[in-house]
Amino acid sequence: MSSKQLNMVQAINSTLDMHMKEDDSIILLGEDIGKDGGVFRVTEGLQAKYGSDRVIDTPLVELGIVGMAIGMALSGLKPVPEIQFQDFIFTAFDQIVNQAAKMRYRSGGEYNVPMVLRTPYGGGIRGGLYHSQSGEAYFAHTAGLTVLSPSNPYDAKGLLTSAMKSKDPIIFLEPKRLYRSIKSDVPDEKYSIPIGKAALVHEGSKMTFVTYGSMVPTVVNTVTKHSIDADVIDLRTIMPYDGETILNSVKKTGKVIIVHEAPRTLGMGAEISAFIGERAVDYLMAPILRVCGPDIPFPYKLEEYYMPNEGRILKAINRVQEFR
């Protein structure tokens, strides 16, 4: 089996390419994705290869991009809309929440919306308030949506392949901070990572980390560097999250730290914590801690204070270790 060392941009690009080659119902649409190849170069070369009918440079209207994609999906195509930055998705929020997410239900199952909405999210590029947001909770709170986020190039390919097979709308969140910062060995052939299954990316017995997306390397590096005897769970699928894997680990370790970039209040950490508080309260040997972005807009100059880092994770480790 041949494979290549790819970064996440390359992995997503080649995965899109692979699927488009096989299936002419796949249509990419978004701002600057064609000639320009996307502001992060994720779609580079695809318009040249598949034509401007299949890789569409759209006018500046997120609502239209998503709305149009919904109609394509309802008519048998497989649209892959891109929102240039997740921060700009809110002008299309009604189409996502009230149309795409509710179409199958409201039509009694007559209609469904197989669309893969891709968008870069999170901090790490000094983008300030409007090029750094992590809005996964808005989507995960919306019944009818499936929310994925890879933490490495290998998973990006596998998750995107699952997304392409889905018959329902997928919100595919790409942690832009990891676009080029890590490489992994990505097999040339097709493979998929099942939706709804987390990965145990580090094994241990004393505590459980639950994280995803951009924070996975941060957590794993911290745990490795300080030889922490911990499970690290990479959710991969944010919604529906893998309750079983979380529960198995928590029952083993009794201690939980949840790490994400999104604001703490009503971020995914809230749901994971509540999930544990509902079914494993008698296994808990420490408070369930959340290490998250604070509940403030994302600042430009001081962004390193915003995103969870080694120091803050260590503080949380110390706090749960003190408990017994």
Binding site: G64, G67, M68, L77, S107, G108, Y111, P240
Partner: protein, 330 residues
């Protein structure tokens, strides 16, 4: 079908939908129906356009399009089942009355947020063009809907990508309590100019005019693969919905409705063209009424959907969260 047959069919659909409308409004007053948006006054413009369409054409309709649906072959039973939200409802009783769906007839599923059906209509048209098919897409909406973000997005996309879409604005002069003059300062058909799209106005109360215009426009859209905005001028004779009391905001501009009523106008012309006699018309009306009465009584007896139907169709397959919640609730 020759012209005569075509118009007779159209007139029958008008009569049927008027009978259905009356019945539902009455049933709502009697507490037998939860809610409804009357369609009275908008029959001609919908059916005139419908006459010009092919079966394969796709319609992204809105909540006031019962006449359109009936004319295009959706059985009154389907309409009433949706209104009752009973166990036979295609939508499994999930949506408020007036939010229909019928894939079989290429009608899409109706949402409440107004005009949000328009951007998806452009995507459907894109798919048609991409697949080199000959179908067109029709999307309908009210005068108030022209103020929405979705209208703007869809109009521009359809124009920029040369998509085969008929935008039918059913200008009934009101958006709940707001008269169209306060909605916008220009005539609606002129808004097409802002997108480089063809736009025109037509008397939506006259079935014959509406059909002639639609036929021409639909042909053009089909051939040239370019969109059009048709403003069909009409009047909302009834209240916005059964929850609405128009006395709060408008005086009775239409005294008895007979003057502008599209059915009255159609009847005159049907007789003029020798398509129908006055007796035949009376018969069609009373048949429609009887028919609707019968169907309504029948469908009213159907039970509501069983509670477990509530927990399907969120996704292709339920996730564990929904399964768990279902178990807790049922």
């Amino acid at each position: 079908m020759d012209e005569k047959e075509m118009f007779v069919k159209a007139y029958k659909a008008m009569a049927l939908s008027r009978a259905l409308d009356r019945k539902i409004v009455m049933a709502q007053r009697q507490g037998r129906v939860g809610f409804y948006t009357p369609t009275i006054g908008q029959e001609a413009l919908q059916i005139g356009l419908s006459m010009a369409l092919e079966k394969e054409d796709i319609v992204y309709q809105y909540y006031r399009d019962v006449p359109f649906m009936l004319h295009r072959g959706v059985p009154p039973e389907t309409i009433i089942d949706q209104i009752m939200g009973n166990s036979s409802d295609i939508e499994k009783g999930r949506q408020m009355p007036s939010h229909f769906s019928s894939k079989k007839h290429n009608f899409m599923s109706i949402q409440s947020p107004v005009a949000t059906n328009l951007p998806p209509a452009t995507g459907a048209a894109y798919a048609i063009k991409y697949r080199k098919k000959n179908d067109i897409v029709v999307t309908t909406f009210g005068d108030g809907s022209t103020s929405t973000p979705d209208f703007h997005a869809a109009m521009n996309l359809a124009a920029v990508f040369d998509l085969p879409v008929v935008f039918l604005c059913e200008n009934n002069k009101w958006a709940i309590s707001l008269p169209v003059e306060k909605q916008t300062k220009v005539e609606i058909w002129k808004k097409a100019d802002a997108y480089g799209m063809r736009g025109l106005k037509v008397d939506g109360n006259d079935l014959f005019t509406m059909y002639e215009t639609s036929k021409k426009e639909v042909e053009r859209v089909r051939k040239e693969k370019k969109p059009v905005l048709i403003e069909a001028v009409s009047y909302r004779i009834g209240p916005h919905s059964t929850s609405d009391d128009p006395n709060k905001y408008r005086t009775a501009e239409i005294t008895d409705g007979s003057e502008k009523d599209p059915i009255t106008i159609a009847e005159k012309k049907m007789i003029e063209h020798n398509y129908l006699t006055a007796e035949e018309i009376e018969k069609i009306k009373s048949d429609a009424k009887e028919n609707i009465e019968k169907i309504f009584e029948e469908r009213e007896k159907l039970p509501p959907p069983s509670p477990d139907t509530m927990f399907t169709d969120i996704y292709e397959k339920n996730n564990w969260i929904i399964d768990e919640e279902k178990e807790e609730i049922l």
